[in-house]
């Protein structure tokens, strides 16, 4: 099964739509609830990252009998130092993002904690791609 979602930078009212949708799909597929929670928390943090930092992005989700593979590709400012961005507490989020309850530098570490595999690549002034894989 393959699903695709478009994400608009700055649009917090829609942030989390793909994550909610994936949660419903995985429930229907009778995936273990503990695994569902790990998958959707990782996706949600990554989805909020696109809304908070990028201009727009695409989420592609591939589900088979062994894994959920999610790829989030955005067009945006990119990340100059992924090592620094992975540190808990490091954030470049705007005051608006902080008002929404995010931007405390926990997003990427939270994704890593909940994903079985996480890969991130980024190019400054081009965009960022995050791959999240969870085995089901």
């Amino acid at each position: 099964m393959k699903f695709e979602y478009k994400v608009q930078g700055g649009n917090f009212s829609k942030a989390g739509y793909a994550s909610s949708d994936l949660k419903k799909i995985l429930k229907q597929l009778n995936v273990n609830p503990a695994i569902i929670k790990r998958v959707v928390v990782a996706l949600y943090e990554a989805e909020v990252n696109i809304v908070a930092h990028a201009y727009n992005g695409t989420i592609t989700i591939d589900i088979d009998d062994k894994q959920v593979r999610i790829v989030l590709e955005d067009q945006g400012p990119g990340i100059p130092s992924i090592e620094q961005a992975m540190q808990k507490g490091f954030s470049t989020a705007s005051p608006h993002v902080r008002e929404m309850g995010f931007g405390a530098g926990m997003g990427l570490p939270n994704i890593k904690k909940n994903a079985d595999v996480m890969n991130i690549t980024s190019k400054v002034n081009v965009g960022t791609t995050v791959e999240i894989i969870n085995y089901i």
Partner: protein
């Protein structure tokens, strides 16, 4: 503790209770930081927060939280309540501060979440 009992203990208005009447809440977590809420691994948790926006509801959904208490008289928007109803999350609106709500529920036997 049932959500109705929680509401009467803190003098809160109840929104979107349908389907959640029999949930037994055993723990509470107080935070305005949604990334912190997303680290919760426990179940049967009530979220006590002063953050009243659409992401409060989305975050609760991702963290498997079925009841949110909005403190300091923060009122949910109609967009928040529509989403809460759609995904089955109860929203309590309470005039008390987060500290006050937390203290009352702690005294009534609601447990904290222990950080691992």
């Amino acid at each position: 503790m049932l959500i109705n009992e929680i509401a009467s203990n803190i003098n809160a208005q109840i929104h979107c209770i349908e389907g959640n009447e029999n949930i037994d809440i055993t723990k509470a977590f107080t935070s305005d930081l949604m990334s912190d809420v997303l680290t919760i691994e426990d179940s049967d948790v009530v979220l006590i927060t002063g953050l009243a926006n659409i992401q409060t509801i989305r975050t609760a959904d991702m963290a498997d939280i079925r009841c949110i208490i909005l403190g300091r008289n923060k009122h949910p928007s109609s967009e928040m309540l529509e989403l809460a109803e759609d995904i089955g999350i109860t929203v309590l609106v309470c005039p008390l501060t987060l500290f006050h709500i937390s203290g009352i529920l702690y005294n009534k036997g609601i447990n904290p979440i222990l950080i691992k």
